[in-house]
Symmetry: C2
Subunit: 219 residues, 2 copies
């Protein structure tokens, strides 16, 4: 199955600007991408993984991922990738450093164990992100298109209904946690041993609980 | 299996104070409790559910839940419940309005499908909450005790190791989302059709995306 991983190689994770400068944000984004590619590689599936980057970017040779450059915004770039084939396509965001092979398998399973409706495989599988986003999609229905603006999880449910596709939602904290604000960095340090977490520790970040709430501080 | 649901009947969800007054917070907390009890009742398990409340509280007669009053703080009250039996005890927080029967089953399953280690059942199962908390625990090891202060997910892993209990972590967005800040109310409106979501709609709350980020506004 084809898996597309959109990646902003130019100015990623701008909401981390209060704690990381532009070069650091690019380095940290690369570490998160490596974690996502490692989770895809570790999943027990035969996957054709393609990084869909806004600018040329090298990926580590052991990732088994090709890079396609498309400098359009996220939504038209992903929709071009969906339109390029009638086969199922998964789209997994690059800023999900908690994702594991098992979480990937939960997204791609045609009939996951314990599904409420264990019948026909859903036409569209959605993994919601915190804040109303859509962190991963499996589009089996060839007519499904994405729109990442706004509360995209709600919009994607409606878009699936419009093309007559059934929807399954994946219940995964590891897929739901996209790195957006500085507070999310604490979740990475707490729940991951991957490259993004190592990058943060190397950059001096640690979990702080000074005021009773979990945050990060930079030493 | 015994399931304990701690519930603050006096002054719940104080961080919602900017958007809900004290009476409203009590009403909304009751709605969230009803959702959690409904999810437990709907799970395909034989459960002995006990609400562990800080003050007398009635629960709806169709919930099959008894109420025990213990006015101590959360940690000693839960530890007394754990110490009361050698049998496994689950502890599920009352402010998890997204929880479903399936998510409950994922917590209670002795050997969930796709587990990394499908061998012996873990001595302690933890469902992390956003922000470092622990939203649900299944304590099979009779020596395990909780401490909800600080980054309790990390502390509970250490506490399990100290008593020689293996740990399994549940990957569930629906268990991870506890209602803490006003921003969490938008997640309830987006991802639940339960009583808490209905309470919010009745109180005039709706999802807002004015500045591009999902929030709630009250009409």
């Amino acid at each position: 199955m084809r898996v597309v991983v959109p990646f902003d190689a130019r100015d990623p994770n701008t909401r981390l600007d209060p704690v990381l400068d532009a070069d650091e944000r690019r380095g940290f984004a690369r570490a998160m991408l490596a974690d996502v590619l490692a989770a895809l590689r570790g999943a027990d599936r035969d996957l054709d993984v393609r990084v869909l980057a806004t600018a040329p970017v090298g990926v580590e040779s052991d990732t088994d991922a090709d890079v396609t450059v498309d400098d359009r915004p996220l939504t038209p770039a992903v929709n071009a990738a969906l339109a390029a084939t009638e086969e199922p396509v998964a789209v997994v965001m690059a800023d999900l450093p908690l994702v594991t092979p098992k979480a990937v398998e939960g997204l791609l399973d045609p009939e996951p164990h314990g599904a409420d409706d264990p019948g026909e495989a859903a036409g569209v599988v959605l993994a919601p992100g915190l804040g109303g986003g859509t962190n991963a999609v499996l589009a089996r229905h060839p007519g499904f298109r994405v729109d990442y603006h706004g509360v995209s999880y709600r919009d994607h449910r409606e878009a699936a209904a419009e093309v007559g596709a059934t929807v399954r939602t994946v219940d995964s904290f590891r897929l739901a946690l996209d790195v957006d604000d500085p507070a999310d960095l604490a979740e990475v340090l707490l729940h991951s041993e991957g490259k993004a977490a190592a990058w943060l520790r190397e950059a001096g970040f640690a979990i702080s609980t000074g005021d009773g709430r979990m945050r990060v501080e930079r030493g």
